[in-house]
Symmetry: C2
Subunit: 210 residues, 2 copies
């Protein structure tokens, strides 16, 4: 791993654990065992590190999602796999860190918004389009409305105003919302295939619809 990538990976771990605000350039260089001079050769300041850490993470996520989805047999398996990956990413994230970035690092936050708006929304649009073409999703659905609904459902599962924490685990909320969403768009042909995946994944708790 080249030095820059090593710095990003270590800085990310520090931010994840302690948030961005309490971590200084000194902390980062000490933790990696490099001089501050070396650190400043690669990054202009902490803002720059936060920005590049977020960019690095989103690039990684995008790449992982693309690799994983290439193995899907059809749009239905794709949406199930993609949702599970998103769930994993979001579970690993420290929500306090995201709020921190949103409040204090607008440039870095823009990358998160872009990930959601461009990559996520575009992937779902494409999935819905192919699903309709293959006769798996109903042709009456409005792709734009349904794609935006799905993005919002991913966010909503974490919204304690909508789903107070005591009711059910976040994971249960996400899984219910995912399977409800998919069932709501399926044709009869799609339902048969969907039920096969539910059977196939039934021992995998990540995919269980209940």
């Amino acid at each position: 791993m080249e030095i820059k990538e090593r710095i990003l990976s270590k800085a990310e771990a520090l931010f994840w654990k302690f948030g961005t605000r309490s971590i200084t350039m000194d902390d980062i260089s000490r933790d990696i065992g490099i001089s501050k001079k070396t650190l400043y050769q690669h990054f202009t300041d902490k803002d720059d590190i936060v920005y590049q850490v977020i960019q690095y993470r989103m690039d990684q996520n995008r790449e992982n999602v693309s690799c994983r989805l290439a193995t899907a047999q059809d749009p239905i398996e794709e949406i199930l796999l993609a949702s599970e990956l998103m769930r994993q990413y979001l579970a690993e994230m420290n929500p306090a860190l995201l709020i921190d970035v949103q409040r204090h690092y607008p440039r870095a936050w823009e990358i998160c918004t872009e990930f959601k708006e461009k990559f996520l929304l575009e992937s779902i649009r494409s999935n819905l389009k192919r699903g309709i073409e293959q006769g798996l999703y109903r042709s009456e659905i409005d792709i734009e409305i349904m794609a935006r609904l799905r993005v919002e459902l991913i966010r909503m599962a974490y919204d304690t105003d909508v789903f107070p924490r005591m009711l059910a685990g976040m994971k249960e909320v996400q899984i219910q919302l995912l399977h409800h969403f998919v069932r709501g768009i399926l044709t009869e042909k799609g339902s048969i295939i969907y039920n096969q995946y539910v059977q196939q994944y039934q021992n995998d708790p990540a995919f269980s619809p209940k």
Copy 2:
């Protein structure tokens, strides 16, 4: 109509049209053609009128919904009718007025929140429970999660952050979200009945799934 109800009805019309802030006690008494003294016999101040207008409106809505739903044959027709009523109420409301009330009349806003949290949420829970008992909705759905999802979907259709206004009419968004929600919870038996309602209502644009 007794005088108090007449005041509430006129004040409501004024608020709907001009918002609450620009309307004074003078405007209200002048518009109704009563003295300010008479107005103050029934209401302590404008806050009191706003509060009672909202309460009156929510009571009316609750009563209308209950009457209308008593005609439904089963939980599926009930959810279709109820959603259409909610859509009508929200379409009649001036969004600027709601924001006004939320910001400046916390006591009145509490009635709106209570309508949403208690009446709406409780009605949907009850609908889902009966639908499951009658074999129309899948028994695997989590009633609490799905009820809160449905309340949030009603709100979401008006959220221009989620559905930018240029994309589709609000009505189209609401109808797509409603029918997607219902399809997502149906059993096979429920699907047959649902499709009959879609057929039956197909010439009624309010119910058309597309």
